[in-house]
Every structure is written in C-alpha cells, then in structure tokens.
Amino acid sequence: MSIEVKDLSFRYGPIQALDGVTMSLGEGAVGLLGPNGAGKSTLLRILLGFLVPEKGEGRVLDYDIRRDQAMIRRSVGYMPESDCFIAGMDAVTFTSYFGELSGMPRREAMKRAHEVLFYVGLGEARYRLLDTYSAGMKQRLKLAQALVHDPKILFLDEPTSNLDPTGRAEVLDLIEDIATKKSIQVILSSHILDDIESICASVVILNKGRLAAEGRMEDLRASRVSLFELRIKGGGEAFRKDLEASGCRIEETEDGLVKVYMPEGAARMDIFRAAARTGVQLRYFVKSRTSLEDLFAGAVGVD
C-alpha cells in the first residue's frame, strides 16, 4: 500500500476536521471525494506533514507521516488548490527553482523544468512572467512544479477549479495521462464528481471528517446502491410513498421516467410488491448503472 492511515484525527480549534479516518490506498488514481469542509484538503496536508495529526498514525510510501516528513516531501508532488506563484519569475525559473528545492542538482533542475513545461503545454510561454499568466496557465504551472522532481505520488487538490470547460478537459487529459501511462500514483481531491469519475479507478469519500466509503468504483457501485428506472401507469403518489417508506429514494425526470435508488440489502421484488399494493402498472423496468453521483449521494446522504 502506498498510503495507509489509521484512526487519523485533526481539529482546527473547535472544528473537528478529521475524525478517526482509517484507510489504505493502493496503486493507480484515487479520487478523494467529499462536499466542501469534508476534510479532503486537511487529509492531504497531514499526509504532506503540513499539519500534525491530533491522534492516529499514517505512512506514505512507507515513511511515517510524523517522523519522515522530509522524505515524504521529496517523494511526492503537491499541486495546491489556491493560485500560487512567485511574482517576477518566469515559468522556467519557477519550475527549476522548486526542482532545486526538492533536492535536484541545479543544472538538472533547469533541464527538467523545460521538459515538464513542454509536457504540460507551457513550452511556448515558459519565458513569460508568471504575473501575466491566465488561470488555466497557472493551473498547468502548478502541475509542472509538482512534477519537476519526478515524484512517485502526486497530490492534486482541486486541479480543475477556476477553469473553463476547454481548460478543464485539457488538464484532466494531462492528469489521466500521468495516472495511466507514467506510473505515478495520483491522489485527486475534488468535489467535482465528473473529474473523479473520468480518471480514478478507486475512490475515498469523506463526509464531515469521517470516512463515508472507500474502495474500487466498480465494487462500490455493485455493493452500495441499486438504481432502477421505471415507467408507471396509475397512482404514482401512493407508489412513491410506499417505496420511500421502505428506504428508497425516488426521482422523477421530466419525461416521466422514475428512478428508484434502493438501499443496500433491498430486493428488486420490493418494487413489484409496492406496485401491487398501490395498484400501479409497471410499463418499463430496467436496472441502471449507478453513477458516481448516485454513489456519492448514497454515501454522504444528500440528494
């Protein structure tokens, strides 16, 4: 396991940001998902050694998060959420500077800075002052500085925030390339479900500082929520109330398609029984693939 944490807790004053989180992350891209304030960024900062956990322990690449912070920071790349750069610098100087601070020899850092800037698509703009960069360019620059020392793990905190759709697609394209073809493990923290769904094979869902779900996306989809789509004829209201009473969540689309999210342990026959009880005809019935949105809603408990 590349990252393991056990019973990790942290509080900002009276606010409990993380509460007994235990998880193990293996290879491949992992999505760190949760609503705002769920504790995603706090978890990343603890793994990087920015914050000292109040309780619990953890290891990143077999380095202890309390004792071996320097080794962890040497082996991981971090792309923070907020805009960050150094005024008066160009991209090459900026990227090679952080390569050098990671421990690269000066000349190697400079050579590598050129390579990664071309890789992230800033090759032509690499001598421009950072003060003149657009939001999308700054986002790529943050990725470049995180990659310059060739980390084994890349922590990406909301990498597509503040980007237009084209910029977002391009950054996601890059992250996917890194995660799938460059043998760098990507930990992608985001509250944008589509980003995670398009890149990550596994997901960790945090809610109010606690672990709400963890595992491979396919396994979670199979085990946690069953989604059925149906079309009905007859008294819909009574049917809906009957299903809701048995713990199902119901959604109805504009064209009359009824989506039934069944909780873990419920059987599809319950829908037929409810239809029989309320005198409703089922005209269409199909088991649908659960999306990450459904999974998230199920785990976090929101619509």
Binding site: Y12, C84, T93, P105, Y119, K182
Partner: protein, 290 residues
Amino acid sequence: MAVVREKGYAHWDGRLVERRFPWLPIARTGVRLTFRKKAFKFFFAFAFLPPFVALGGIYVSERLEDFKAIVQSNRALLNIDPKYFQAFLTNPSVLFSLLVVLVFAGAGLIAEDLRHSALQLYFARPLRKKDYVLGKMSVVAFFVLVLVALPWLLLVVFKLIFAGSLAFLVQYPWLPLSIAAYAALLTVFFGCYVMLLSSSSRNTRYVVVLIFGVYYFSDVLSEILKGIFRDPHTALFSLRANLQQAGAFLFGQKLPHDVAAGWSFLVLAAVCGLAAVVLHRRIRSVEVIK
C-alpha cells in the same frame, strides 16, 4: 484547431540530494530576482558612492604634497584612522542608501510569498521553517555585506597599498575586525528588521512604507522625547541612534550619546527577538482560518 502538445514525459533518472545548506537556492534566487527589478541597479551603484569618496580621501592622505593646495585647510579631515571609517559607516546618509537598497531587496521577500500563497509550495519541499527564513534573510545579508563589509575592508587594503607599508595595520590591528563586526551587526539587525516588516503584510508597497516609516518615526520620536525630557536615554528610541552608538563602540570611538552602548545593543537585540516571534507565527505552510 487541435492543440499540439508534447506528451514526452520521461522519468528523471537522477538522484535527489540532501543539501547541507537547503536555504542556498532561496538566497541565490532572491538575489537574482532583486537585480531584475527596475531602477534597482541605479540605487545599488549609488550606494557605492561613500566608499569611493572614502577611497579618494585615503589616496589624497597619502599624497598630501601633491594635493596641498586643495587640502591645506582640511588636513584634519584626512587623518585616516578608525574614526575616519566609523564616521563614514555610521553616517545617516550611508545608512539611508543601505536602507534604500534593502527596500528593493527585502520588502517583498516574504510579503510576496504571503500574497501569492507561495509558502505551501516551499513547504511541500523538504524545507524547514528555519531554512526558509535563513534563505530569505541571506538575501538581505548579501546586500549588506556587499555594501558594508566588502568595500570597507578593501579600503584598508588600498590604504596599505597607497602607503606602501603595513604601518597602518600595525597601528590599528583591530580595524578590519571592527569593520567585520559592524557589518555583522548591520546584517543581523537589518535582516531581522526587514524580515519582520516583510512578514507583517501581504502588500509590498505597504512594507516599503513601513521600512522607511518605522526607521524614521523612531528617529522623530526620539528627538521629540529628547526635547521634552532632556534625557540622553531618549536616543534609545531611535533605531539610527542605536546603530550609530553600537558602531562607535565597535570602532572604539567616543559614543555619540551619553548612554552605555550595552543599552543600544539590547534595543537592537529586542528588535531581532520581536522579528523571531513574528516570523515564527507568520510563516506557516498552511493558513488556518479559525
């Protein structure tokens, strides 16, 4: 049109090294960035004017016969001794030109990092807080040493060259040490002073105002208090007066104010102590908003 992107990411086959001085890249980059600033080179060159004037004085003092028509009435001024060096080095205009250079070099050192949230990038590297502060402070130290230690120690050498003997050094063997000690004092004090104010705001312009403002306000306050209380201890309120007092002590000259030099050292040390406390609180890898 499709974006043409070079996808050639290759793993780096080198080895990351553990530096003995992890702060060195920060210092080097800080100095380089300072020289990129507009107008800085002019003020930097201007700050070398006093050593050039002093060099002229040293040259003339060794060639009095050639310049007797010019220096007839100013012979006393050309008596080259520790007082000559102390008079230049503690001169308010010399300290002012040093302050101008440090405003360019140091005002934005931490303020810009705070403004652009760059601290988290630094601390995502194997750097400790003290490495970061040391790196930034080294930028200030570089300019103080280049403007104070280097030229004035060279002037001692020039004096020996112009005289063609070591008599001057034999007569004042402690002078090079006095210059080095005074340069070290200015380095530590201005390093802490500039870091303290640079970390107190995210706005570099505001920091510039603070660097000049606090320095000269302390002077004005001292003069006002002196006018009211007629007590020489009021000089301790002035940063400039304390530097002059400490400088006179290090050069073994008569103190300009009737106060023990130890008090001045204590005031300067207090500023450094305050800087250490503020830097410890302000330099954080994560800004926690409570």
